[in-house]
Amino acid sequence: MDNLLEILSAAFLLIGSFLCISGGIGILRFPDFYTRMHAVGVTETLATGMILLGLMLQMPDAMVIIKLLFILVLTLFISPTASHALAKAAIKNSLKPKLDSEDNKERI
């Protein structure tokens, strides 16, 4: 039973780390603000969830699990809201997404 929990937790942590790194590559390599935001937004919720789940499985202590759960719920509320506000502010401030038009096809 303990072994199973350990393997599960390791797997969750691994997936979380992978997602984190992919998000990091995304924020560096994607061509414009909105695509970067997509990379960050997707990984922020999922990777955080995975890593926190992995941590939860490591600790049998109830208080710690409750706190981790708090962090998980908070990030699940906060990250999408912040992303939403950011995107809304950017589009209202007339920051145009880079479209697949002729003149920037080569660069993408």
């Binding site: 984190c20 970067r36 922020e44 955080t48 992995g54 502010a89």
Partner: protein
């Protein structure tokens, strides 16, 4: 495994800082700060486990909350149109006239 995850998050933080410095627009910077904040939350919870004192998750909770507040504050103070005019009663009076 914990240490591997910590290292991964560290790498991602370096990437976020790079984007924050390169930034071309202001919003890229805000995005980098936001991402850096959530990664700090994760890093601190992981560090607590690595050092064997997981009571320190309180700090991670504070981070999650403060990060939200600072992102909202930045958006409000930047030139964003939805936040540009804080709701003061005088605005409404002017609109009516």
């Amino acid at each position: 495994m914990l240490i591997a995850a910590t290292l991964a998050i560290f790498v991602v933080m370096v990437m976020a800082i790079t984007r924050g410095i390169m930034g071309p627009t202001l919003y890229d910077r805000i995005l980098a700060v936001n991402m850096f904040g959530t990664k700090t939350v994760l890093l601190i919870s992981l560090l607590g486990f690595v050092m064997g004192r997981p009571e320190f998750l309180d700090i991670a909770i504070v981070y999650a909350l403060i990060n939200f507040i600072s992102v909202i504050a930045v958006l409000r103070h930047s030139d964003a149109a939805i936040f540009k005019n804080p709701p003061t009663p005088t605005d409404e009076i002017e609109n009516k006239q």
